[in-house]
Amino acid sequence: GVALFAALALPFLGALVTPLVYRALGERTAWFAALVAFASFGLVASQFGTTGSVSIDWIPTLGVSLTLYLDGLSLLISLLASGVGVLVFTYSAGYMHGEPGQARYYGTLLAFMGSMLGVALAADLIALFVFWELTSITSFGLIGHYRESESSLYAARKSMLITVSGGLFMLVGFVLLAFVSGDALGSTTFTLIGTPDSMIANADAMRTALENAGLFVPVLVLVAIGAAAKSAQVPLHVWLPNAMEAPTPVSAFLHSATMVKAGVYLIGRMRPLLVGDEWMLLLGTLGLITMTVTALLAVGASDIKELLAYSTASHLGLITAGFGFANQLGAETGAFHILNHALFKATLFLVAGIIAHEAGTRAISELGGLRHDLPITGIITAIAALGMAGVPPFNGFYSKELLFESAYEVAHELGGLAWLFPAVAVFGSVFTFLYSIRFLWLFMGEKPAGLGEVHRPSLALLAPPVVLAGLAMIVGIDPQLAVDTIVQSAFGSAVAGEAHTMSIHLPTELTPAVAMSAITILTGIALSPFYDRLRDGVRRLTHGPFSADWYYDKAVYGLERASGLALPRIQTGQFRTYAAWMLGVTSLLALAGYLAAGVSIPAFSDLSITAPVVIVLLVAIVGAAAVARAPSHIAGVLTLSVLGFMVALFYVLSSAPDLALTQLVVETLVLVIFLLVLNRLPAFYGDTDRGTVARDALLAGGVGLTVTISVLVATAGSPDAIARFFVERAPVPAEHGSILADFGGGSNIVNVILVDFRAFDTMGEISVVAMAALGVLTLVAMRGRGESS
């Protein structure tokens, strides 16, 4: 019940408190973090076997609620996340000894663990997305832990770009899902699982709704992109090798147990909902392609963490392929391999950390014969590496055999080029076998001279790999125990419909799957002496434009350069272009508006304008023309004031007296201010070249035309204006009391309107006048002191 929330909230609280704890405990926050992780591990473990969902509704209007649902699959992931978390924290107590910025490190790591638990436990799409993005943000923080080194910044940005954008695609998929659930289940909900009216609960209703809305394939693709981005499938796996910059416990935590598991968890979770042959086609091929390509790249790797990173990608491909196959065996593979992969890969990463920490270097080429000074780690690596290679009786073998079985079965009933599945599966796992043996080889043979002396690791570094190797050993010895404690229920929740019990034990008779795995092991052993040539072959292949990095750099840095060049073309700084653009677009849009409305120019009727008005307007035009071609500033100002006079006269003639008054006096004051300002400015004449003048005239014409049309059409209409109200309400009525409030009380309607009716406008524009004064004052006062005062 509430234990789920406690398990979820605990890491976040721990993360919040870490800076304080760091101030109090110094380096021993690691134990505090381990304790928090262990507490949430215990809480999750205490819910073992129950399947319940608790929910607090977060945004009821959208139908989003924070519901945590616990079943086999999420139990598996959350146990893995918190369990490995505990070990990683103890490990980093030794590993991060003496490094700066530990408060930040443990805080983000704890937050990451919490959000990973959230991803595992969240039962509705938005909550899932919340924790999903939180994982990518915290991983961004973690990968950028060494924030001085350029490469880790590059890696952090790459991983954030890829995972967050993958998440966004996924969000769109979720939105579509929710939208479809509107007419599948009656009301739009985001809850994926747990309550009876969730999506998974009535999956087929959802599928039919998805199909006939034609959204099935987009949803599938979007969700697959999201999962692929997170789980580093080809072609989005590029962030994985670069994420090596993070300290090793982080990469152990991120890569092996949790982050990349988020993707496959999503696939497992969505499987009962979206399973079908498009699903198999998409995910099966994607998984298998990743498995081979990254296995090849792993062979070509030159340092141990990079090798392990690629191998993670390939194993995740394997899991996706497993989930991709539309039969029960596929789900078994996925569920079982999640567990196995977490066990042996976490060990290997921790071992790699030990090697990097004790030997000082990570390059494969100058490591060798470490078993003399690292005996226990040797045994641990043996267990883990052989498990990774899929050698019986180690735990990796069982899940790989399941993959072969399911691939074979898929090929068996589809026929045709479905046989590629088992072929590619075998091909890929040969390389998996190769690089894992290579990793084991670091301990065999004798030490090359270049290696300094490696001193033995401290207990905190050694204990977690021992625990993990022990667990791997147990799973290896009798897989049945692991199965019916946890994998059985995990697999149960990844299949639509009924799940039959899975029984894993050492193969006792020859099935095609056993044949395939035998083929893999034998060819692996056969090819292992030519490892070096294979490695160089792979390296040459991936140099040029075949490495996915190349595409990423091209996209990101190309974009930066392109915008660096393109922008000055648009933002020229020339005010002319701005004004030209603005006026041009406005007049074009206005004309488009008129045209779209199909406005009709009214017919040419009589000109009911008195003669003096015509002459005054003529003079105004002449004045305007003179201003345009004014030889000197003073001439321009004078003609401007003449224009002002003419406009004022126009007001007088169109019987608007106080308008004329204001216009006149304003005109004079503008003249006075112009004169005050002019004598400071240099008398300057811009010599104009033809082209710009022509374009300016053209533009001016366009603007003029728009205005003419708007005048013509605007004066065409004569609605019954509200002016009549002002007219009979403004003056004082004949008989009146001593106080009259609903008559304006003044026979000058304009003034009454300004002051009485729309007094608010007057308020507005006296504040404009006040501000103009203040503005001028500020501009002048701020002359001396610029920015910095």
């Binding site: 004051l669 006075v672 009380g745 000058n748 003034n751 002051v755 007057t762 308020m763 006296i766 006040a770």
Partner: protein
């Protein structure tokens, strides 16, 4: 410059001011109002400012013999006060309306007749608003003129 313009301005200046005030007072039922009165007063001051100069304006006008405050010459300070006062009067007029229970800015005219010598003159409270507008326009434009004027 020569004495003629100076004396002519001395004669004309009050005439312009009186016209401005006339326009202000008859603003209610003849075309007038705060704007034109304000702008005209500014024109009058601009005249004095142009003919006799700023210092003369400061001394004789107001006995304001300060040094210039940070915003510019001395009398700017109280031009600023003028328009601040104007704003206060205009807004105050509105607030008074609120206090009397009617919505913001509602004017009412009250007629007082049976006063002894001039029977029935109406004084509108819109006049208060006009006054506010007038003061703001005077203060603002004079500030602009003075500030722009003396650099």
């Amino acid at each position: 410059m020569s004495v003629i313009t100076r004396t002519v301005t001395r004669v004309v200046f009050p005439l312009i001011l009186l016209t401005a005030l006339a326009l202000l007072f008859q603003g209610h039922n003849l075309p007038g109002g705060g704007f034109i009165a304000g702008v005209l007063t500014v024109a009058a001051f601009a005249l004095v400012y142009i003919v006799n100069g700023l210092d003369y304006l400061q001394e004789d006008l107001l006995g304001r013999t300060g040094d210039d405050v940070e915003g510019g010459p001395a009398i700017v300070a109280d031009f600023l006060n003028v328009f601040a006062g104007g704003l206060a009067i205009a807004a105050g007029g509105g607030v008074v309306a609120i206090l009397l229970g009617q919505p913001f800015l509602s004017q009412a005219v009250l007629f007082v007749h049976d006063l002894p010598i001039f029977h029935e003159l109406e004084l509108a409270s819109a006049f208060v608003f006009d006054l506010g507008v007038y003061l703001v326009v005077v203060g603002g434009l004079l500030t602009i003129l003075t500030v722009v004027g003396d650099e």
